[in-house]
Amino acid sequence: MVVYSFYIFDRHTECIYSKTWLPTSSDPSSGSGPATATATTTTTNHNHYNPATALRPSTADDAKLIFGAVFSLRNMVRKLGGDDDAFVSYRTAHYKLHYYETASSLRLVMLTDTATLSMRNVLHQIYINLWVEYVVKNPLSPVEHKGGVGVRNELFELGLDQFIRGLI
């Protein structure tokens, strides 16, 4: 199992945290961003495709694209399946995107390789054990994390890194 990247969006749709686990490279040969991938593709042609390099233009743009995609998908899922329905993940030829939304409209997104099983529980654990414990309960971090203020503290970063590495 490989985890490529992880994003947190707050209720104001802002990306307040992102992290990638693969070394960045300046290879510009990438093709499609995640927003253009088709949600139900099941083809399995792994031609040395690395989403981390595909997501190069700039992390800020990636985050915007990802949010747009998951937000639209979530709304579509709710329209079709009712308000209680939740969008869990989608998969492309090259990666799988996992999505978890809390009742307080915090959205956690994780990109992994296609073989990974549901990460819903993992995202839930990140929320209750890392986000709530180290970010929300940190009295020095603000309530709203505009621009990611207060999220990137050492405990959270370290906890997240260890937790993800523990999965692999």
Binding site: H12, T13, G68, A103, S104, K137
Partner: protein, 191 residues
């Protein structure tokens, strides 16, 4: 049935929480209120406002703890269910009390929480300056907590106390009104 389920959930979660000495809470909260009264020169209207503001900031954080601890996975389907969860799970896990839910309006948008015990108010006697009894809502922080917490789960509410045993009323009652459900925020348009 749903309500007894909520009670069980509240009881169950409470037993797993870390506990803190009740008197520590009473004294800490009491000191805050007393200090506010001193800082604002016994302007109790302003003290109420400050308590509400502090509660609001607490509520915005507390809701995350509540969601994590109660393992809530879906939203309440109605405001009535929200009221049940507030009284039987929220108050139970954080204060170990279960206020009674009464006085619903027919449109289901307003209800009262009646507290038969209030852990903040043990030992408390309001100052006898002739005004505190009429102006100070001692436990006003709770209104703010509810307002902040519900705002985070997309409900804009208004909460205020209508009576308090500390003032000599028979009951302690808080009135909560749903103003509106807040829509999802949309991402800003790209230029």
């Amino acid at each position: 049935m749903a309500s007894s389920k909520a009670s069980r959930l509240g009881e169950d979660r409470r037993t797993r929480m870390d506990k803190v000495n009740a008197e520590l809470v009473v004294l800490t909260y009491g000191t805050i209120v007393a200090q506010l009264c001193k800082d604002f020169d016994s302007d109790y209207v302003e003290v109420n406002k400050q308590l509400d503001k502090m509660g609001y900031n607490i509520g915005m954080r507390l809701i995350e703890d509540y969601l994590a601890k109660s393992n809530t996975v879906r939203r309440c389907s109605s405001f009535r269910e929200t009221a049940e969860m507030i009284a039987k799970v929220g108050f139970k896990i954080f204060l170990n009390i279960t206020p009674a839910i009464t006085n619903w309006t027919s449109d289901g948008k307003q209800f009262s929480l009646v507290f038969d015990e209030n852990p903040f108010a043990d030992f408390v006697e309001l100052p006898d300056d002739g005004r505190a009894q009429d102006e100070l809502w001692y436990s006003n922080i709770m209104c703010g907590v509810l307002r902040g917490a519900l705002e985070m789960v997309q409900m804009q509410v208004e909460a205020h106390f209508v009576s308090d045993v500390l003032r000599g009323n028979d009951t302690t009652e808080m009135r909560i009104s749903l103003i509106r459900y807040i829509d999802d925020e949309l991402p800003p348009e790209d230029d």
